[in-house]
Symmetry: C2
Subunit: 188 residues, 2 copies
Amino acid sequence: MADKRTELQTLAQAIVQRSGLHELSFRQLAERTGVKSSSVHYYFPEKHDLTAVLISSYSEAFAQRLAAIDAQPGSLRRKLSGFVDLFEQAAQDDKLCLCGMLAAEISSLDERCRGLLSGFFRQAELWLARILEQHQGEVLSPLPPGRLAAVLMSGLEGALLLDRVHGAGAHLQAQRQLIDSFATGAPS
Amino acid sequence: MADKRTELQTLAQAIVQRSGLHELSFRQLAERTGVKSSSVHYYFPEKHDLTAVLISSYSEAFAQRLAAIDAQPGSLRRKLSGFVDLFEQAAQDDKLCLCGMLAAEISSLDERCRGLLSGFFRQAELWLARILEQHQGEVLSPLPPGRLAAVLMSGLEGALLLDRVHGAGAHLQAQRQLIDSFATGAPS
DNA sequence: GTCTATATACAGATAGAC
DNA sequence: GTCTATCTGTATATAGAC
């Protein structure tokens, strides 16, 4: 681990993705990284500060992965499959999307964090809508790109949620089949 | 309110649907119903007991609404629209589905509650799959009923989640459009 | 940067009087 | 059934020494 701040942040993110913001405590964070809770407050004065950093860095990492998908050419189906892979990675670690988890806990977030959260979803859906528009010839659906983007984002966040309760990956798999049903493997 | 137990249960359900299990405390529950927290423990000895009752009664009420949809004949599109209405009602109250919320908080549930939660989703998806199968002539989708049921359930739970953050009902609306795109209004 | 020590608040839960 | 009173644990957060 590069430094203590990064170590704390990485652990905090994993805890939120697995168990939620309420299971994240400065004490636990301290114990599991070998410092005292007051030291955690040195890096992140208040819990809202830590939360905001988590959302920001998660959004940034997500954006980079989207850029990586953009970088190499491919069909719509291939690109959307790459998008689903981002969620699959979380699922296989028994995690939710950080922002999906925080969306459920929105009543505990301050205004700043709510804005960052909203930004994450806007970013993801704008990316999806743009991809769908760029490959419109490969879309076998009457839904306009923005609507289809909303369907996919809801579906993927919901699939992560439900697969932890029930179904052993079946919900994410069903989302893949939905995509295959409207995205042809045709020329880019 | 019929009796204190019912009053407590009703309030508890609303708190969980709006803010989650962690925001539900025996103290708050007591204050807002005019008793002391020890009285709440009289009705629900432990928090897990209250949680289990909430899930059970929510599942039961949900099943009754599904039966009401079954009761009056109609096209697939009409029935699925009635299903979405159940989620729409929660959304307009700024609530999530109780079980969607608890799915996010699964790490805080005991085994009994997890089983009840799983039962809720199984029930909902089996109903959807049955409806899709009964109206298979009206389904314009290559996905088998079970898969389509999983897609819809994920999508609706996710839509409730995302609409609270971002979009003012757009995600639920997009789910309705998805349904309209594959469910013909054809004869029942 | 990390520590000790502490303030303050609130959580779930129980004992026992009435 | 409802109360008072209390136990115990944990949370966020801060002051100030080193």
